[in-house]
Amino acid sequence: MKARVYVTYKPGVLDPQGQTVCQFLQNHGQSKVRDVRIGKFIEFDLEDMPPAEAESVLTEISGSLLANPVIETFRVEVP
């Protein structure tokens, strides 16, 4: 089964990459763009298991490795 984890900077953590892309877009006519934040998208292929179990496995992996709780948050998406 496929499952996904999204890792993003916490609000308030400086994201120079996002800022640069945002500024670039604004300078290139995308005046409706207010802000850009860049994060990570991680796709897993897991053995088949009940969704709740998959969520718990990925929450454990995300909290201990994929995201650094000092600067990032994560969201697990299990189909």
Binding site: L14, P16, N68, I71
Partner: protein
Amino acid sequence: MTFAVITFPGSNCDRDCHHAIGAVLGYPVRAVFHKEQALGACDAVVIPGGFSYGDYLRAGALAKLSPIMPEVRKFAEAGGLVIGICNGFQILCEAGLLPGALIRNRTLRFVSREVILRVENTGTAFTSHYEPGQQIAVPIAHGEGCYVADDRTIEGLEAENRVVFRYAGPLRDDVPDGNPNGSRNAIAGIINARGNVLGLMPHPERACDPLVGKTDGAGVFRSMAAALTNRVRTGAVAVPAL
């Protein structure tokens, strides 16, 4: 007194540390591979710079789970001296041995040049060989050296004098404040509350051998050696037996 320098896959300053500590400064030094599960006999641990695990995921994120790391943690918890330089600082933060995190430089550029650091606290086991407020020239070479932490952590570090090194120059057009990476409060290096774990982005080991220029970094390792000698002499803090 023996320094142990840990090599992770992708470390590239391990031999610089080995050279600076051993050949230049004359202290016993040993290499420890990250897959080893014991540090062996040593009195100080050096986590060197480089790109452990290619900086994949986040700088230091994978190295913190290497087999040797539980031993480093035990060593630190027993009061042993641990210094993390550059990627080593990132690893110590990822491992939770130091607070905060190091993120992409404000400029998005990898910065490799000499900077001026102000030694903010000379009362540590890593800085006793410097004068209070002394400015030293040491190289930096990193893409992810912007130190961040929440307000409370920053206030605590400042209040407890745990910001040991701060960027102080040179002032350039692209870094008018002398802060090359955007670190909060221009923090270049911090120490843990107990005073035995130091992390810093600049490379003191690259400023030890007169052959390559300045020697301002040697004070870090000389201070560590002095602290270890004092410990043995006074028995104030038992050297952890591992």
